[in-house]
Symmetry: D2
Subunit: 283 residues, 4 copies
């Protein structure tokens, strides 16, 4: 009997509740009249004392980050802030906006555009790194582990998740994020294995192929892996980080464009400020 | 002929594009291979030098905020981070999550739950404050302007937008945000008129009515008005700020609850850490 | 004091529930084990005896439609089934689909693309027609009522809701729907006033302007008005009718296109069957 | 080296487009001024001659269905029209509606609530049936094929997709749909294998377990399988069919309930018409 018809073991890890209501608990935020406590901390006490990024970290992880973790985590969020008008999420948001829909609708449609192929590489790359580290713990060298994991991709002319980008050959966000993690002494084995996987990928690609490097999703996966984030939460950080970008594009659409236009992404130009540098007073 | 049938002047402020594609521009982010510039600043240069909140401000407003504006703006975002499981947006997100949908779907549904009655008070209150300031510029005292604007609400047993809360009689986020604005010397006429409107509202309510005070939406409207935000963008800040909260609730649902449960908001309890204080080292 | 600052009377038609849960009722569908009754009818009894369109009518209106109303109502839904790839709703759905998101996400994003400028004309036109009929009941001739309502639009170079289309000068769906209503003896004063408004619009437009005619939204508004639908429900019919179109486009995208493509609506061509006619055996 | 760390073969079935725009085609609907052709048929010609269900079938499958297929297909859609207020999709829609959001937002949130555990059984069951029929074609008896596929579920105390329901022990929609398929002579091997799988499931369950039967998702999977639908399109029919239900609930929420209520599904009652029967004149 052909092997391909042997059914996969059914995934029954969570039982359905079968229609019953009942008591349930949350460990995130406690509300009572005139009291709002996030993970035990009064929300009004966080205001002015924790940054927005640190507060997000506290909410997601349960504890206040150290100053250096807070800074690195903030950089993870800044890295994904915006990527112009061509990502499908931004185009989905703009198309909803041109139909005259409210801001919330446009942003929500943009969030829906974070499909498995767009932002999903954070989770896939973090699982890929975890697989590599598991192989290493079982005795393989990092090099061999990387080779074993990368080959199935390069054999098909593809690259592993987190390596290679549709536009950038050297993603400046990835370079900067990995550098920051290193400077803050927060990079560990995930970032280490990621660098090896990047090198192995290029070794395994045909001699005439264009060099590929770690993209922003890969760098976020490496950094978040070393910070102890689980893959789905790390992927969720992309949603948090890009929502401001979606909002900015939708507001710009509402201010500058006519209703019901047919949006051709190939016909856009940039007319904002030309390149400038931060003042030296900014750290 | 009855007055109520006289048609409103049609709202034709933006012309439909009538199905034509064409060139268009964006002033937000410039992309070319290996370059990502937000408002002219290389994104990788922002990483580690601007906070996430400051970067959002730059993206939305076009300029890097001063340190004090950056801090106040960050507090606006922290103020709306989460409000437990009972807001309809959170319940919408949880219901989508229990159906087995991905994280993005659940968060998007939550964003859709920021309807006009939930978060919408930021925009409505900011317009209310602008109306009051316009009346003042035309010669009315702040007091008279407030009285003129508040009365139509109190006459119907209601409160103006930004004043009163479904749970809190004294919203700790509003108190703290207005205090911060004052400490940072960033409160101006919007915050001033808001305080007067709160007092007038209580004067105009029946003697036996419960005292109402400025809620978080009102405080955000006041602060954002004084920072020069337009009402729709100020309202959009609520989306940015609450998405992390939605994400945290959805992840918790996926970790702790069975699939397809019937979610009864009245039966939840909080089982997280009890009240604690930030260490003194946090500023 | 300037009139423009006099605040609009606040819209306080529904009171907020102020955070209380409580008993509530639904009159749509009764569920108990092994029983599903829609508006009192066992759902399994409807199957095979009512058409899908008739069942929708029953659910929305509370009663089984007559055969002729059922047929006309079905035609309203067929009229909005699909309109190719250029509506913003379809483009929003396609952009979400190309990101690798599930079918539900893509369809939901498409639904969000039914903003006030896209499909919203059904509700606006139905309110416009109701205003005209109210003026008539107060003594104005249909002609005068139409002139009074249309002028504010034509004065600004615009057309009233339901008249004119971004692509079609003579919308074949509108023509057919109004003809069907007439043949089935179901057209009444809303359709009548719509015809007059179309004529008056063209009379009031400049002599050299292109002739405009009733579009599909206008025809649906006229027919639904005469069938007794309220404006928001009539507008909702567009959602019901177009979801199959969104689904078909998303499935086609998943089958035929690569992931993460940048969708340029101006570069699409049609490669399906060329024009053909229904067999005579179809009624 | 442990087998569980051997990476799955990467799924690279569709190549990413790597950021390029380009020509593309659609075979669904051809649009030119005053012409709308769905699958080659003028849309206005379909109106009044094809039912809404038949038109949907044409759009999705490319050809006009026979009268009997049209009737069965319509019944598939009617079967999923509504299921009261407790499905998570309906609760998501109601929570968005109570926040004051527009109809489109509420319906879109409901669509997002059709997660893998809610409606997803149609696709899973259809794949399950196809696996069984593949085993049969390779030589196994239907009985053995069913036993082989069902056992991994019953061993874990679960049931295969399409069998068992959180509320109904004998789902009246499933019974009626399979009966209709039989009466119309449209049931074939998928429906046949489904019946065997149901029997085998009950044989393999512990002697004291409650009897389970085919649910509406299972019956739709069987019928759609025999009609030649692919799993994802069959699952998409649930979206099409339930959107009217979502709309009806949202409209009812807007008409009958206060804003910002905390919706407790356990506290609802039904106050619509009591049980009634269709008149004999309806077929």
């Amino acid at each position: 009997m052909a092997d391909q018809h042997r059914p996969a073991k059914p995934d029954i890890t969570r039982t359905p509740a079968r229609g019953k209501t009942g008591e349930w608990s949350t460990a995130l935020t406690h509300i009572e009249p005139n009291v709002i406590e996030v993970r035990g901390y009064p929300l009004d006490e966080l205001m002015g004392r924790l940054s927005f990024a640190e507060s997000i970290y506290l909410l997601l992880r349960g504890e206040v980050p150290s100053a250096s973790i807070g800074q690195l985590f903030g950089s993870v969020l800044v890295a994904s802030l915006d990527h112009g008008v061509t990502p499908p999420s931004t185009l989905a948001a703009l198309n909803v906006a041109t139909s005259g829909a409210p801001l919330t609708d446009s942003v929500a449609a943009g969030v829906l555009g974070f499909g498995a192929q767009h932002g999903g590489d954070v989770a896939r790359c973090l699982r890929f790194l975890s697989e590599g580290l598991a192989l290493h713990r079982e005795g393989a060298s990092y090099e061999d582990a990387a080779r074993q994991l990368v080959e199935p991709y390069t054999e098909q002319g593809a690259t592993p998740p987190g390596i290679g980008h549709r536009i950038h050959t050297r993603d400046p966000r990835a370079v900067r994020l990995l550098q920051l993690a290193h400077e803050l002494d927060l990079d560990a084995e995930h970032c280490h294995f990621l660098r090896i996987a990047e090198r192995v990928t290029n070794e395994l690609r045909p001699g005439d192929a264009e060099r590929v490097s770690t993209n922003v999703d890969g760098a976020i996966a490496g950094v978040c892996g070393d910070l102890g984030f689980e893959p789905d939460v790390a992927a969720g950080l992309f949603i948090i980080a890009r929502v401001p970008g979606l909002l900015a594009h939708v507001v710009e659409e509402q201010r500058r464009q006519p209703w019901m236009r047919v949006i051709d992404p190939g016909q856009h130009t940039y007319d904002g400020p030309s390149r400038r540098r931060l003042p030296d007073t900014r750290r």
